[in-house]
């Protein structure tokens, strides 16, 4: 019957289209010239799309710096919109099979999938961004985001009139808790009365939920907002309501010219370049020992991994205080997590004179510092 033939043809077309569309999207940087033996192939896995003007955009900027720095010596490929979870392993495996020498997976949720694929491809190097598991061929890279949070806390403490700060957080993982606590420490260093209330939206990128959380914070009286999520929705809500906030990952000034105080901008270029160069030089290694600590690259303002955008929409004295706070962190004078640190129930958690080391920043922060209301969920 005629209609059956039409339907079969339609079905074949749909399957063909699907097959075409499910092949990975490649970066426009594929070389046309014949591949050189010494050319390094670099793969990137992105959580969202560079168009998010946030987290992934910063990674894409980093990738472009790699291309700029190495020119013909590298070939880069990226795959975007890869959801966290088991399916990520398939995407990472694809990149490994395509002959990439080093693969950067740019979100916390790729941790276990990356580890799994790393075991299957011992000759390929893997760099997991913001994670804490490593192997002989899997390193981790991270930015000391919490350094920017401390400065945010300082600015918030000096700017707030209602003494209520609204924080929109994603998931209760160590990196996010570090950020909240650093914010609290910065806040308390200039303001003894303000309090931060945290709403967890359980997502990295959900503009509707982030906007809702921002509206709730504002309704409850917060006049400064901070976020550890990736969309500009919070800042736009802040702009509409006439309050202020901090941008995240990339400079979000374009979305909220009157509301943004400053953005913590992630600068991944130096980290990427450093690790690819190590691979080229033959010095890429995660060291010995079960933890492979030597494979952890974790730097911040000192190496310009973290850059603060211009301080705006604030009085000059606040900008000066913020600049000084940032300079102290960059020079190493202020290590932030130096005792005495008291939690929000009054118990001293870090004695005077002790500074938490990198491992402790991941394993011992199961409390909120003084200045943050509530308890860590879960």
């Amino acid at each position: 019957m005629k209609i059956n033939k039409i339907l079969i043809l339609l079905g074949v077309l749909v399957v063909a289209a699907l097959a075409y569309m499910t092949t990975s999207k490649k970066a426009p940087e594929e070389q046309a010239s014949a591949p050189d033996d010494k050319q390094v192939k670099v793969g990137f896995v992105y959580l969202t799309t560079p168009g998010d003007h946030g987290w992934t955009y910063a990674h894409e900027v980093g990738r472009q710096k790699v291309v700029e720095h190495f020119g013909d010596k590298v070939v880069t490929t990226y795959i975007e919109n890869v959801p966290e979870g088991p399916d990520a392993a398939r995407v990472i495996r694809d990149l490994a099979k395509q002959g990439n020498d080093i693969i950067f997976t740019t979100s916390f949720g790729y941790m276990d999938p990356t580890l799994k694929v790393a075991k299957e491809f011992p000759d390929v190097k893997f760099e997991h961004v913001t994670g804490y598991k490593r192997a002989a061929n899997m390193a981790t890279g991270n930015i000391r985001f919490y350094e920017g949070r401390y400065v945010q806390g300082v600015v918030a403490g000096l700017m707030t009139k209602s003494n209520k700060i609204g924080y929109i957080a994603s998931f209760p993982i160590p990196e996010v808790i570090q950020g909240i606590n650093a914010f609290g420490l910065g806040l308390r260093s200039v303001n003894k009365d303000a309090e931060v209330s945290v709403i967890w939206v359980n997502s990295w990128y959900d503009p509707v939920k982030e906007a809702d959380a921002a509206k709730v914070h504002i309704a409850e009286g917060a006049d400064i907002l901070a976020q550890h999520t990736d969309s500009p929705a919070m800042l736009q809500t802040a702009e509409k309501a006439g309050v202020h906030g901090f941008g995240q990952s990339s400079n979000m000034k374009a979305f909220a010219p009157k509301a943004q105080l400053f953005s913590s901008v992630n600068n991944w270029g130096p980290y990427y370049v450093r690790k690819i160069q190590a691979l080229i030089d033959g010095s890429w290694s995660t060291g010995e020992g079960p933890d492979h600590w030597a494979g952890n690259t974790w730097s911040g303002m000192a190496d310009d991994f973290l850059v603060l955008s211009a301080f705006e929409n604030m009085p000059d004295d606040v900008a000066t205080a913020a600049t000084k706070a940032a300079a102290d962190i960059k020079s190493g004078a202020n290590k932030i997590f130096t005792g005495p640190i008291v939690d929000n129930t009054g118990v001293e958690k870090v004695p005077a004179g002790k500074t938490l080391n990198d491992g402790e920043l991941f394993t011992t922060l199961d409390y909120y510092v003084d200045g943050i209301a509530g308890k860590i969920p879960g």
């Binding site: 209609i3 969202t48 799309t49 168009g51 998010d52 003007h53 946030g54 955009y57 919109n81 609204g166 209760p172 209330s197 945290v198 709403i199 967890w200 939206v201 359980n202 990128y205 959900d206 503009p207 509707v208 939920k209 982030e210 906007a211 809702d212 959380a213 509206k215 709730v216 914070h217 504002i218 309704a219 409850e220 009286g221 969309s231 500009p232 929705a233 736009q236 809500t237 979305f255 209301a373 509530g374 308890k375 969920p377 879960g378």
Partner: protein, 305 residues
């Protein structure tokens, strides 16, 4: 003051649910179970955002959203009504299709922003303390949601055309024997449902948050479907259900802000848990819920030639 701002957010959160559920109740009363609401809402959302982004006019975006929702529903109607396929499977396929296509179309627009719908304060009424801000300072789509709710209730219960539609939903064979155009009425009902779902989807990027992100409806289409059952297929109760769901969604965020000690992951589940709980409670009263479902809901009709 705090309560007023929170209540306003609750009302705004309910609008997409009211729009989508109002459309779906018409489709279901005519006997068609359209599970593609989520996909149609997403198509509406991406159409609204893309059009507003390109033309600068949010009202064009609203029109585009209605069109996108209707067209997606037309695909559903083609298969479920024209080719007599299983309505459940077709609806699910449309949801997945709508989610994927909207993601594809919306990809270049991620990270952008638009000027959404403006607030139209009703003169005089908007100045009433408290109620004025809550009820009479909204945008076009919010007013439309309430108006359409009443229009649909009146249509279904008080007009002859509504009676015919309900008759078709209850017993399509008898209706067909009486000479009513079963498939044509169902097709119109499904298209209307798609149109309303598109408008519901448009509310998210045009009013709630001026962004597009893939899958931004986050299950609201499914909640709208549940609301239709919750409301026992009566439009009047859709409003209550929508406010309940919207209320819990905002309340869990406010609870976190006030320091409630329940895990945030559990609080995120609350709106969905509450919907399921209410559905279970309603369904326990056999007289209450099941007898009100259109008797031929989801059943395939093939006209005897």
């Amino acid at each position: 003051m705090v309560m007023e701002a929170l209540l306003l957010t609750v009302i705004m959160t309910s609008v997409p649910l009211i729009l989508a559920a109002t459309g779906e109740v018409v489709a279901e009363r005519s006997g068609v179970l359209n599970l593609g609401v989520e996909g149609m809402m997403l198509m509406g959302a991406v159409a609204a955002f893309a059009t507003t982004s390109l033309t600068g006019n949010p009202y064009f975006g609203v029109v585009a959203a209605a069109t996108a929702g209707t067209l997606t529903a037309a695909v559903f109607a083609l298969f479920a009504l024209g080719l007599a396929t299983n309505q459940v499977a077709t609806g699910l396929a449309l949801t997945i299709f709508g989610a994927g296509l909207s993601g594809l179309v919306g990809d270049p627009f991620v990270g952008g922003t638009v000027d959404g719908l403006h607030i139209v304060a009703l003169p005089g009424l908007a100045d009433i303390p408290v109620l004025g801000t809550l009820l009479f300072r909204h945008d076009l789509l919010a007013y439309l949601s309430i108006i359409m709710l009443f229009v649909v209730a009146w249509f279904l219960n008080k007009t002859r055309a509504g009676l015919i539609l309900r008759a078709i939903g209850n017993n399509h064979d008898s209706a067909h024997a009486l000479g009513y155009a079963v498939l044509r009425v169902r097709c119109a009902a499904v298209l209307f449902g798609g149109l309303m779902a598109g408008l519901g989807g448009a509310y998210l990027p045009l009013v709630l948050t001026p962004h597009w992100s893939e899958g931004m409806t986050a299950g609201r289409g499914w909640i709208a479907l549940a609301l239709v059952v919750f409301a026992s297929w009566m439009p009047s109760r859709i409003l209550v259900g929508a406010l309940l769901f919207g209320g819990i969604t905002i309340m869990q965020l406010a609870g976190q802000a006030r320091g409630w000690e329940l895990p945030s992951q559990f609080l995120s589940m609350l709106p969905y848990l509450a919907t399921i709980a209410v559905l279970v409670l309603i369904s326990r009263h056999r007289n209450f819920a099941l007898t009100r479902a259109p008797a031929n809901l989801g059943r395939i009709f093939v006209g005897v030639k």
